[in-house]
């Protein structure tokens, strides 16, 4: 969806503020939210992101990163049916009234999770798709109301394929629980083909359904010098 989370190129957010010697977490509740995200809740990272995207524009921009996570975990827990919303609310009321958070430990399980997050995976890249290295592609203007990983700032723009990442689960589908695989490409854009100005390049990883073939040659932005 074309929400305010899709920030590429949006102006009006001021300077980049760097905190010196920043800690990994700023509040203990951030630690707990981070840890809770490793719970066995159905729905993967795409459902997680889509839950955040649906927070609402003003809420997204006025809350912090780990508040976004909190919304995402709450939303997935409730939407998956494993935690009734009423139970979550009852727990909130109880906690606010002073109820302690229960403690249950399982050292083997904890160790297994810590090992799992540090275990390299070796994904098998599947077959690649219709585009090859050097092909010109134009990003579709399709603007789905559901989850997508095709940002607004490249819609309709012409780029050149410069990486083949194999066949990968399509987030647009998996955010809703459907499993669809599609070829994933690295695509290079000239800044001036995105913003009309700028000497830099911007690279994005884009799935085949986001892309349309673009004839080589002269376009309205001038002759392509990608190759």
């Amino acid at each position: 969806m074309d929400g305010v989370h899709d920030l590429g190129g949006v102006e009006g957010f001021g300077a980049v503020v760097v905190e010196a010697d920043e800690p990994v977490f700023h509040h203990d509740w951030e630690r707990r939210v981070f840890g809770c995200n490793f719970a066995a809740i159905p729905g993967g990272v795409d459902a997680f992101r889509h839950a955040i995207e649906r927070m609402g524009a003003r809420a997204y921009l006025s809350t912090s990163y780990y508040e976004h996570w909190l919304v995402a975990i709450e939303t997935r827990a409730v939407a998956s049916g494993i935690v009734p919303a009423a139970d979550l609310e009852a727990a909130r009321v109880a906690v606010a009234a002073g109820a302690p958070v229960p403690r249950r430990d399982d050292p083997d399980r904890a160790a297994a999770m810590v090992a799992a997050v540090q275990t390299p995976s070796r994904p098998v890249a599947g077959a690649t798709g219709r585009f090859g290295i050097g092909d010109l592609v134009r990003v579709s203007r399709r603007s789905p109301s559901g989850h997508t990983r095709c940002p607004r700032y490249v819609r309709g723009a012409v780029g050149v394929v410069d990486a083949l990442h194999g066949t990968v689960r399509l987030p647009d589908a998996s955010a809703g629980g459907r499993e669809v695989d599609a070829p994933l490409y690295g695509v290079r854009f000239r800044a001036r083909d995105l913003w009309g100005t700028g000497a830099h390049q911007v690279h994005l990883d884009l799935w085949e359904p986001y892309l349309e073939p673009e004839p080589t040659g002269v376009t309205s932005m001038g002759e392509h010098e990608h190759g």
């Binding site: 899709d6 920030l7 590429g8 190129g9 957010f13 001021g14 300077a15 980049v16 503020v17 905190e19 990994v24 977490f25 509740w29 630690r31 707990r32 981070f34 840890g35 490793f38 719970a39 066995a40 990272v45 921009l61 990163y65 909190l70 827990a77 935690v83 139970d87 979550l88 727990a91 909130r92 109880a94 958070v101 229960p102 403690r103 430990d105 399982d106 399980r109 999770m113 799992a116 540090q118 390299p120 995976s121 070796r122 994904p123 095709c150 940002p151 700032y153 990442h165 990968v168 987030p171 994933l184 690295g186 995105l194 913003w195 000497a199 830099h200 390049q201 911007v202 690279h203 990883d205």
Partner: protein, 198 residues
């Protein structure tokens, strides 16, 4: 808005405690898993891991070649990889070319080699601006690139994570990999800084 209080930390704290309560009660996670995971990302998994990768590449030309050809596999040689780093692509800075990483849609970041991202990486200002005006953003962050340096911005829109291999600074010919790794800091591996000579 008016006189209405915005939601403060205490509300958030209660929601977090409630969430942990229901997840633990249902056995969906254990308390020590939460704590062990936090411990791992707060103390064990951080930019010193990426620095070791970089130092190895600086000191071992064959490794550098493997790292640039298949980052995931080369990083796995050092026992590194995992969550939010299932696929890692390494891009090398070189004379005339500077690479910088962002995630405009959320805050994708190569956890297994850099740990969790800093707040500026997650904030709207960096995410919105660096794809549009990277030179200005880098300059504000203290990195002034020569005009003839080509900037390549990597927007992490899929599950590929990007690690920048900085240029090895001059005058470090005598240093071993361990000493080199100590020079390499997070910002240089995101591409918002370079590695300075010691």
């Amino acid at each position: 808005m008016g006189e209405h209080h915005t939601e403060g930390p205490s509300d958030v704290e209660a929601r977090v405690a409630a969430l942990e309560t229901v997840l633990v009660e249902r056995g969906l996670i254990t308390t020590d898993t939460i704590e062990a995971i936090v411990q791992a990302y707060e103390h064990d998994i951080g930019p010193h891991l990426g620095a070791a990768v970089v130092a190895r590449a600086w000191t071992d030309p064959d490794y550098r070649e493997r790292l640039l050809a298949d980052g995931t596999a080369a990083i796995a040689e050092l026992g590194l990889g995992g969550a939010q780093g299932e696929v890692i692509v390494t891009k090398a800075n070189e004379p005339g070319v500077h690479n910088v990483v962002v995630c405009t849609l959320c805050s994708c970041y190569p956890w297994p080699v850099l740990g969790l991202p800093p707040t500026w990486y997650k904030d709207a200002a960096y995410r919105s601006r660096v794809v549009r005006e990277p030179r200005a953003v880098l300059s504000e962050m203290g990195l002034d690139l020569a005009d003839d340096v080509e900037i390549r911005v990597w927007d992490s829109t899929a599950e590929v994570r990007y690690l920048i291999l900085p240029e090895r600074p001059e005058g470090t010919e005598e240093l071993d990999a361990e000493a080199l790794a100590a020079l390499v800091h997070r910002d240089a591996m995101v591409g918002v800084a370079v590695v300075a000579a010691p």
